[in-house]
C-alpha cells in the first residue's frame, strides 16, 4: 500500500499547474530523481498485484503437496522429488536420442504441429460451415440437427474409425483434433451470423454488395466476436483431445510420452509433462484471446 501512496503523491504536483489559471507556478525541484518515474511505478504495482497472489497460491499448494507426499511410503512423489527425478528432462528439453527418446521440447513440438494442422482445418471448415448454417435457413434446418448429434460424440470415439479410414496414426490424430474443434466453431459462427443486425444487411443491400463482398466486408467482421468465442473453445478442446489421442496412437508426442512414462513407472516424468501440458494449453488460449482482441477491436456496439 505504501508504494501506491508514494506513487499518487508523486503524481499530484504535476496536476497543479493546469488548475492554476494563467499564473505559472514553478514546480518544487525534486530532492533526488527516483529510480522509476511515477508511471513506471504504478505499472510495477499493477504488475505486482497481478503476479503476487497467484505466486502465493502456487507456493501454498506446493507446500501442501510437499507435506502430504513427503513420507517415503507415499505413492506419489513430492515436488522436490519430481524436480530431482526429472532434472535431466528439465535441463535438456531438446535432446534427441532417436526413436521416441526425445526431449520434452520435441514431444510438445510434435503435438503442437498436429494440433496446428487439425485446428487450422477445423477453423477454416468451421467458419465456412457456420456461415452456411447461419446464412441459410434451409442449410440450418438440414444441417443443424446433424451437427447437434455429432458434436456430442466424444473425440476419442472417432479415433478407431479414423484409424480404419486412414490406416495411419498421424492423419487419424489430426482428424480427431479437427472433429473435436470444429463443432464449437461452427455453432458460434452460425449464431454470430444469425445475429448480424438488420441495419448492416440493409447497408449491404443498398450498396448491392455481392455475396463474396458481403461475406468479407460485413459477415466476418460483424460475427468476429462470436467466431473467436468458438475458436477459443476449439483450441482448448483440441489440446485436450491431442493428449488422449496420442496415448493411443503412440510415437512421438506429449500424450504418448505420458503413457510411456506410466508404463515404465516414471511418475515424476508424468507430473512434469502435465505441468508442461497445462502451460502450453494456457499459452494457446491466451494467443487466441489476444488475436481476438486485436481483430475485433471496435466491433463492439458503436
Amino acid at each position: 500500500m505504501t508504494q501506491i501512496a508514494a506513487a499518487t503523491s508523486n503524481v499530484t504536483p504535476l496536476k497543479t499547474p493546469t488548475s492554476a489559471a494563467g499564473t505559472v507556478v514553478s514546480l518544487p525541484a525534486p530532492a533526488a530523481r527516483p529510480v522509476f518515474g511515477p508511471r513506471a511505478r504504478t505499472r510495477l504495482t499493477e504488475l505486482a498485484r497481478a503476479i503476487i497472489p497467484p505466486l502465493l497460491t502456487i507456493a501454498a499448494l506446493l507446500l501442501l503437496w510437499e507435506l502430504l507426499c513427503s513420507s517415503p511410503t507415499s505413492s506419489l512423489p513430492a515436488p522436490s522429488r519430481v524436480v530431482s527425478d526429472t532434472w535431466e528432462l528439465i535441463a535438456h528439453p531438446f535432446y534427441d536420442n532417436g526413436g521416441n527418446d526425445k526431449g520434452l521440447g520435441w514431444q510438445l513440438y510434435v503435438s503442437l504441429k498436429r494440433v496446428a494442422l487439425g485446428y487450422a482445418l477445423a477453423a477454416v471448415a468451421g467458419v465456412a460451415l457456420g456461415a452456411l448454417v447461419g446464412g441459410s435457413v434451409w442449410a440450418m434446418r438440414g444441417l443443424d440437427p446433424v451437427f447437434q448429434v455429432l458434436r456430442t460424440i466424444p473425440p476419442l470415439a472417432w479415433l478407431p474409425l479414423s484409424l480404419a479410414a486412414f490406416r495411419d496414426g498421424e492423419p487419424s490424430a489430426i482428424f480427431v483434433i479437427f472433429i473435436t474443434a470444429i463443432w464449437p466453431i461452427i455453432i458460434n459462427t452460425a449464431v454470430g451470423i444469425r445475429n448480424i443486425p438488420q441495419d448492416y444487411k440493409n447497408v449491404a443491400q443498398v450498396l448491392r454488395l455481392n455475396p463474396l463482398e458481403y461475406f468479407i466486408k460485413i459477415m466476418l467482421p460483424a460475427a468476429a466476436p462470436y467466431i473467436f468465442t468458438g475458436l477459443r473453445i476449439g483450441i482448448g478442446l483440441s489440446w485436450l483431445a491431442i493428449v488422449a489421442a496420442e496415448m493411443l496412437i503412440g510415437g512421438v508426442g506429449i500424450g504418448f510420452f505420458i503413457w510411456d512414462a506410466w508404463n515404465s513407472s516414471r511418475i515424476s516424468d508424468i507430473i512434469l509433462a502435465l505441468v508442461y501440458v497445462g502451460a502450453v494449453g494456457f499459452i494457446l488460449d491466451r494467443i487466441v484471446a489476444l488475436i481476438a482482441v486485436a481483430v475485433t477491436r471496435g466491433t463492439a456496439n458503436a
Binding site: 447497408v203 475485433t296 471496435g298 466491433t299
Partner: protein, 265 residues
C-alpha cells in the same frame, strides 16, 4: 403524360402473420419532381418508414409500383441511398472507410483510386467531418455519426436521397445544426430528397412539399401541403414569417385535430 422523376403508384402494403393480415399502407400515390425536397410526416406507427423502405427497395409493396426515371424499383440500390435513423455505420471501419466502402462499390469501375479518395474526402468535408476521418463510430458523438451516414449516402451520388428520421435520435441543438447543414448541401447539390419525420418544424423548414399521412392501419396520404417559402431559408427569420406560420399551423392542425394519434396504434 410524361412520368415525373419519382413516381409511387397505388402502393398497398400488408403484412401477413399466420391468419392475421395487417394492412399498413393503402393506395399511396405520389409524384416527386427532380430536386424536390419532400417530407413525409405522420404519427408513429403510420407506416411512413415502410413507405420509405418500399422506395428504397428494402421492402416489397404488396401491390402497386414505384418508378424512378421510368424504371421499376424492385430491389435496393445505390441510386436510392438511405440515411438510416440509427446511422447504421459499420463499427469495425473508420469514418473514412465507411464512406470509402460506398465509394469503392459505386465508382470502383469508373473512377481511379486517387479520384475515389478525393471523392470520399470531398463528401467528408461536405459534412465537416474530415477531422474525424480516422476515428471509429464508437469514438464519435451521435450527431457526428449521422453526418458520416449522410456523407456515405451522398457519396453514392444517388438519384434520390432517402432520409429515415435522420435526426430523430439527436438532441435539439445538434438537430438544428444538422438541419441547417442538410439545407446547405441540398441547395448546393440539388438532390431529390424524401425525408421521414415526425417533427413539424423540421418538415416545414426543409421541405418543398409535406406529405401528411393518416393514422394506421391502412394509412393513406391525407393531404399534401406546398411550402411556398423562398430559399435559402433562415430559421430565425422564418419564426415570424407568415407563410411559415401558416404552413406550420396547417400541419399541426392535420396531425392533432383531424388525425389525432390513437393510443392503441
Amino acid at each position: 403524360m410524361a412520368k415525373s422523376f419519382l413516381t409511387i403508384e397505388h402502393v398497398d402494403k400488408s403484412f401477413t402473420r399466420g391468419a392475421v393480415t395487417n394492412e399498413v399502407l393503402k393506395n399511396i400515390s405520389l409524384e416527386v419532381n427532380e430536386s424536390e425536397f419532400i417530407s413525409i410526416i405522420g404519427h408513429s406507427g403510420c407506416g411512413k418508414s415502410t413507405l420509405l423502405n418500399i422506395v428504397a427497395g428494402l421492402t416489397q409493396a404488396t401491390t402497386g409500383v414505384v418508378f424512378l426515371e421510368g424504371q421499376v424499383v424492385d430491389e435496393p440500390g445505390p441510386d436510392r441511398a438511405v440515411v438510416f435513423q440509427n446511422h447504421s455505420l459499420l463499427p469495425w471501419l473508420t469514418c473514412y472507410e465507411n464512406v470509402a466502402l460506398a465509394v469503392d462499390k459505386v465508382f470502383g469501375k469508373t473512377k481511379s483510386k486517387a479520384e475515389r479518395h478525393d471523392w470520399t474526402m470531398h463528401k467528408l468535408k461536405l459534412v465537416h467531418m474530415e477531422h474525424a476521418k480516422d476515428r471509429r463510430p464508437s469514438e464519435i458523438s451521435g450527431g457526428m455519426k449521422q453526418r458520416i451516414g449522410i456523407a456515405r449516402a451522398l457519396a453514392m451520388q444517388p438519384k434520390v436521397l432517402l432520409l429515415d428520421e435522420p435526426f430523430g435520435a439527436l438532441d435539439a441543438l445538434t438537430r438544428t445544426h444538422l438541419q441547417d447543414q442538410v439545407m446547405q448541401i441540398q441547395a448546393e447539390l440539388r438532390n431529390t430528397v424524401l425525408m421521414i419525420t415526425h417533427d413539424v418544424d423540421e418538415a416545414v423548414l426543409l421541405s418543398d412539399r409535406i406529405v401528411m399521412m393518416t393514422n394506421g392501419p391502412s394509412a393513406r396520404i391525407g393531404d399534401v401541403l406546398e411550402v411556398p417559402l423562398d430559399r435559402p431559408r433562415n430559421r430565425l427569420e422564418l419564426v415570424s414569417d407568415r407563410g411559415y406560420i401558416a404552413a406550420r399551423a396547417a400541419v399541426l392542425k392535420f396531425l392533432y385535430e383531424r388525425h389525432r394519434f390513437v393510443e392503441a396504434a
